[in-house]
Symmetry: C2
Subunit: 162 residues, 2 copies
């Protein structure tokens, strides 16, 4: 779906760019930032803190999602918009779907990230390849009990769906 | 690449299945678990704790990666293997690439997850669609300053690459 863009969208996106520049200058991590809003009010932001937090999943969007969920005390962000200084990588785009965000607006794209030395475009190509064609050694081992967790889940009366 | 499978691989995978079943029974979260090893020794495990931790990114593989990085005090897991009770979703597969894991072995696949009500297969289909064909409202806003973060990064003498 295509977004209806207004001037506040541009404003929030410019803010993410400033945050991303600041993130590099202060040595916190990579050149990425994100802001999450609801009804045009900022709930939380996040920057890339992979190297300083020793967490390879601490990209800007994931940090922003974790921070926003913390603020709202919820595991979903329905109705929210995420602004990102750069097109999310597959990990972060997946996180945006799981968090049930409503809109994604970004400034730079994955080819710009690639030119700056980041693997986003590479990972987009890899994850849709058949297992045996990936750079990452990948294999399914079929086990008799491999559906037990799902059966336990389906039969659980107390589960919280997400 | 195809993995060379041995009996210890099956053993660790069976352990993830047991952990995933236990995770549902104890109400911690969804029916997923992962174990990370190095040289056939367990470094850390992780289970899906999305609902109990109010974190939509707290899938089993991401929890395991964060825990393993915490143990090793590093932001990369080179040479490590991740065992997952189910094929990772795009978010988690992306995280596995960013963490530089060496091998991924999993039991159930994304179609089994789909049958149990999880969006993994849907998200795999979505993220490769052109922006305007996605369910998620997605738009790039081209801004004059959108490359500033990358330029700052490239010109930084003190950056830690990841």
């Amino acid at each position: 779906m295509t977004a209806q863009i207004n001037s506040i969208d541009k404003y929030f996106l410019q803010q993410t760019i400033e945050l991303a520049v600041e993130n590099v200058k202060t040595g916190k991590g990579g050149p990425f930032a994100a802001i999450i809003t609801k009804d045009d009010k900022i709930i939380a932001n996040g920057t890339n803190i992979v190297t300083t937090s020793h967490d390879p999943t601490a990209h800007a969007e994931i940090s922003a999602i974790r921070n926003a969920c913390n603020v709202l005390n919820d595991f979903q962000l329905e109705g929210c918009t995420i602004y990102s200084s750069c097109e999310p990588c597959p990990m972060c785009l997946g996180a945006i779907y799981w968090a049930r965000l409503k809109r994604l607006l970004f400034a730079a794209d994955k080819s710009q990230a690639e030119k700056a030395g980041f693997d986003d475009a590479f990972i987009y190509k890899e994850i849709i390849l058949p297992y045996n064609q990936r750079n990452l050694t990948t294999e399914q081992i079929v086990l008799q009990e491999d559906n037990f967790p799902f059966e336990t889940w389906i039969n659980s009366n107390s589960k919280i769906e997400y």
